[in-house]
């Protein structure tokens, strides 16, 4: 690339990051940020890394169609990224938000979802492959994905039988959030969590509407594995859950409104939501339970019958761009798995103890196990607990 070409760039990557940091720490507004960096910027910055989007033809994006259906989780993407993808490609993104992997699986099993890209969690991938519901990915169409930059601990589940079915999005932990103004006893474990729920904090706890985390929490409190499918252990967990039910504020995966309004004092919590809550309300403390819990990775995957395949690849490739990843994480708080993206994050995020906990804190955490997704008993325990 010649020098004059470089000078023609509307903005350098370094400058982009300067504005990006200013935008993040609030010294410039989003409008200003978009104004100075803008569309041309993004295209330039991406252009260096997204050759497939720049394959010469002026109307290269025309081939992508005008629609993409993206199924993901609540509070999990930066709207600026989605808008920018639409501006770049003319592809409008329809976002569906889900509360559990089971719900995603149920929709895909029923068929005809019309989804192009969705965000499954590590433990579901092998099930999806077995059920023939997702596609093997052609990594040559996702040049922004750099396997070397991704810790194999997190990226591992993407590979099933030697084939790659997805690329990582973010990783995190499942612990709980405590409003320390209301609960002074500083609970440290799931056992404490349920004790407080049925004691001083009665009426103010939220459990997820999600079998993996809610049953998992109860199992850990009883000293069992987060992933247990042992009928006897599950029966004990069901007892604990049903005993705690009268003391709950709610059973919902949408726990931020309850925590923010002060109605709920404690909730099972994903760590990115923990940063979101803690950012606005310092009394919100995120706890990785000492008696276990979950560590997880979310991925981008393409369903077998995705109607807009080209757009799906372009979108995943766009979202794998380190800048785009960093900008995504700036909003939702979850840590990228990609070291290139972490390098672009401001120190406040890159070293945040909620997002990057000390290794010894995570010793007791388990990745969700594939059998928990399909185990009939686990599903029924959850359903019985909810209708009890």
């Amino acid at each position: 690339m010649s020098k004059s070409n470089d000078d023609n760039k509307p903005i350098s990557a370094r400058k982009f990051m300067k504005y990006f940091r200013s935008y993040q720490n609030g010294s410039i507004s989003r409008r200003h940020f978009l104004g100075v960096t803008g569309l041309g910027t993004a295209m330039t910055v991406m252009g260096t890394a997204v050759p497939s989007l720049w394959s010469g033809k002026a109307h290269a994006f025309g081939d992508l169609g005008d629609r993409l259906v993206f199924s993901t989780w609540p509070n999990y993407q930066n709207q600026v990224n989605l808008d920018e993808f639409t501006e770049l490609t003319g592809v409008n993104i329809q976002v569906n938000a889900f509360g559990s992997n089971e719900e995603m699986l149920a929709k895909l099993q029923a068929g005809g979802t019309g989804w192009d890209v969705f965000v499954p969690t590590n433990y579901t991938i092998s099930n999806y492959v077995e059920l023939d519901l997702i596609q093997e990915l052609d990594l040559s169409r996702i040049p922004n994905y750099d396997p070397a930059a991704n810790n194999p601990k997190f990226a591992g589940p993407a590979m099933v039988n030697g084939k790659v079915y997805c690329v990582p999005k973010n990783w995190g932990t499942t612990g709980f959030i405590v409003n320390t103004k209301k609960i002074k006893s500083s609970p440290r474990s799931w056992k404490d969590f349920f004790d407080v729920t049925m004691g001083k904090g009665s009426g103010h706890t939220i459990l997820h509407d999600y079998q993996l985390t809610t049953i998992g929490a109860a199992l850990c409190a009883l000293g069992y594995s987060f992933n247990s499918i042992d009928p006897k252990e599950l029966a004990e967990a069901e007892d604990l859950l049903i005993k705690s039910k009268p003391h709950l504020f709610a059973i919902t995966s949408d726990y931020q409104p309850g925590m923010r309004s002060g109605d709920a004092w404690m909730s099972i919590c994903w760590n990115g939501d923990g940063t979101q809550l803690n950012r606005d309300l310092p009394e919100m403390a995120y706890v990785i339970a000492s008696d276990g819990g979950e560590i997880w990775t979310d991925f981008y995957a393409i369903p077998k019958d995705a109607p807009h395949l080209d757009a799906a690849y372009a979108f995943i490739n766009f979202m794998q761009d380190p800048y785009v990843q960093a900008r995504d994480a700036a909003v939702h708080g979850y840590a990228p798995t990609d070291s290139r993206a972490i390098a672009l994050q401001p120190d406040s995020l890159a070293t945040d103890p909620i997002l990057h906990p000390a290794a010894d804190l995570m010793n007791g955490l388990e990745f969700g196990a594939a059998q928990t997704l399909t185990d009939a008993n686990r599903a029924e325990v959850m359903a019985r607990f909810k209708s009890a």
Binding site: L131, M382, A383, R384
Partner: protein, 287 residues
């Protein structure tokens, strides 16, 4: 003459065909599928696998609480909606001048232009800790919990279903012959007597229709209890959502659905018997 009736018959058949096909393919056949599924097995990874078992019907007691909640809160909600809707419908039909009637009617419909989901979600914040309870604290009433209680679900029900109740009652009151009211007062009937002897009986068809509409829909409701009951006030509709979307136990979900349909058939038949008998009784007395 013969040709005429033949044409008529063809015309009738042609006009009824779309509805019949609709009923056949979108009501009868799916119901048969549900019935068949309810005797099948849950496939290993969820969904349906063939077979014949009664275990799903035997497992129904595990959802007893959900049936109870629905069978208590749905009728109470219907009654509350009626109590709120009747005065409103009466006011709109009898008291309001022609000029404002249309505007006020449109105002009753306007909420329908926004999704029920969004409107119900808004109630989470109104009933939540920073909403009405905070206002109550200002006047010294502390520690009130509204959200995630049966009361909150009832508020949501009355709010969401009010228009469905208002309109049938409005229509029957609108048709009411005003001279009957004049006759009543001319003959010395007190306003109370006029209402109980004339207005109320003549508006009964609207009341019956409104109650039926609201009650039937409430029996399958899941959104309002999920949002305003916080998963703690659990309807049979929520149990069904769970069985199909979370635990993917289609056969058990089908068995619960069949049971719900049977309960509905029985209640609605009883209800229609009662209201029909009531109506004929009054018709005679009016004669």
């Amino acid at each position: 003459m013969g040709a005429d009736s033949k044409t008529n018959r063809w015309l009738t058949a042609a006009l009824l065909t779309p509805t019949s096909l609709w009923f056949l393919f979108l009501l009868i056949l799916p119901l048969i599928v549900i019935l068949v599924f309810s005797f099948g097995e849950r496939a290993a990874v969820g969904g349906y696998a063939g077979g014949f078992t009664l275990e799903h019907y035997a497992n129904l007691p595990s959802r007893l609480k959900a049936f109870q909640n629905t069978l208590i809160i749905a009728p109470v909600g219907t009654l509350l909606a009626l109590l709120v809707a009747y005065p409103l419908a009466y006011y709109l039909a009898v008291r309001v001048s022609r000029r404002y009637k249309l505007i006020l009617l449109v105002l009753v419909i306007v909420p329908f232009w926004t999704s029920l989901l969004v409107r119900t979600y808004a109630w989470i914040f109104i009933l939540g800790g920073r909403g009405i309870p905070t206002l109550l604290e200002f006047i010294g009433i502390e520690g009130v919990r509204l959200i995630n209680t049966p009361g909150a679900v009832l508020v949501g029900i009355v709010y969401g279903y009010l228009p469905l109740m208002v309109f049938p009652i409005f229509v029957s009151l609108e048709k009411l012959d005003k001279s009957l009211l004049e006759a009543s007062s001319d003959l010395g009937g007190s306003p109370y007597k006029t209402f109980t002897q004339i207005t109320l009986p003549l508006s009964m068809p609207g009341v019956a229709t409104g109650c039926m509409l609201v009650f039937i829909l409430l029996m399958g409701e899941f959104l309002i209890p999920a949002f305003l009951g916080g998963g703690k006030v659990f309807f049979i509709g929520n149990a069904l959502v769970d069985l199909f979307l979370q635990s993917r136990n289609w056969p058990f979900g089908a068995a619960v659905s069949v049971t719900l349909v049977v309960i509905m058939l029985i209640t609605v038949t009883l209800y229609m018997r009662m209201t029909l008998r009531g109506n004929t009784g009054r018709d005679e007395s009016l004669m």
